[in-house]
């Protein structure tokens, strides 16, 4: 049962993610481009924290991937 539950949830999520967005024009990304909005500011600090938790707990994974930000160039 767990496997299909996961699939349904992920489908719902992907769909909402795709359709829920009001189209943001390239020049309207000022707020999204702010450093505090970035998913990966202070990469070294995030890596150290995740590495520490990973070596003290069983769970790991999930972090990674690009996206967000100003979408320039």
């Amino acid at each position: 049962m767990k496997k299909n539950l996961v699939k349904i949830i992920s489908l719902v999520l992907v769909l909402t993610g795709v359709s829920a967005c009001t189209p943001v024009k390239p020049w309207e990304r000022g707020n999204l481009a702010l450093p505090q909005m970035a998913l990966d500011t202070d990469g070294q600090e995030a890596a150290f924290r995740q590495h520490t938790f990973y070596s003290k707990e069983s769970a790991s994974g999930g972090y990674g991937g690009h996206g967000g930000g100003c979408g320039c160039n």
Partner: protein
Amino acid sequence: MSLINRLSIAALALPGIVAEDAHAGRVDETFNTDFQYAHYEESNNRMGVDVFNLTAVAPIGENFTASLDLVRDTMSGASPVMNVRDDQGQVQQFLSSASITDERDALTASLGYAFDEVDISLGGGVSNENDYFSGHVNAGVSWALNKKLTTLNLTGSVAFDEITATGRPEINGRKTSQKYLLGLTQIINKDSLIQSNMTFAYHGGFLSDPYKRVYIEDTGNQVNDARPGNKFQWAWLTRYVHHFKAANKAALHADYRLYVDDWGVDAHTVELSWYQPIADGWQIVPRFRYYTQDKADFYQATFNSSNLGAVHSSDYRLAGFGSLGAGIKLTKSFLMSGFVKEVKLQTAFDYNDRKASYQIGGDSSGSFDDFSFYMVTASINAKF
């Protein structure tokens, strides 16, 4: 990736061909360097770690980006080896001697290439400790679609580890791990975005901890930690970021991660951080973390010969417990227009309390494993 892209990548190696400017993507032109010192310390002077980390990311030409990461860890102090049940029937944790110090050096390098909407990257690295060597290679594709509002991420990595445990010559365990990530980052509106990633990890080989043992009560003997020869981990992380213009352009980061593995561990992680800009480049980031996991099927604090089984472990990391943590980060950035474009200073302090009683649905019987730890980081980043 289309047939044309696959052939084009192969064609790009031909000296006479340079990627067509108009079509290849262009990389961020800033040269980025980071240096961080970090310290980790556990309660009742168990384990302490000092970490030095240097990272450099440089654009090469218009389409390539190279990155290099160097890490030096120095670990010292004791760590739990076994649990013993004393004559009052209480379980006591037995620590290794405090003298062990260990140094780990790691190097990771990667090269990225930007097409118009697709970025690919290839990388690899090695990590060396006196009893543990690890080498890994990784590859990643990031595809920006829907006018860069949606980003699909796909990464894969394979690692080969070799353990030659000090004092345990009969062990020389090899382990291979494969990790895959499928993720989607979607901009929801001008003020918020969501990222959802799933990771799948497959490990095979020597997965036990050569320094840990289990205590068999009825015979009083000790046997080595023995875990299954393979492990599958699945994690599903969702991160939501929202901008609050009224709060001086602050940003809330809310993360939730569901984790399941085939050793019987289910875990939940919640992390909330509030990025609060103050004035002229200062920013303060209070954050909160809660983690809970149930125990692995083959974990017990102590065993007896009837329930020992082929696989058995008393490693506190496989026990059932919860962890509550809080922290504060302070950053200050200087924007300049000369050769150096930005300098950013960062420092943070985190305190985490791990307790069996914090586990959701736990019976808090494992309080002997409880401990707390704090983390301190300080770093400087320069962009050219």
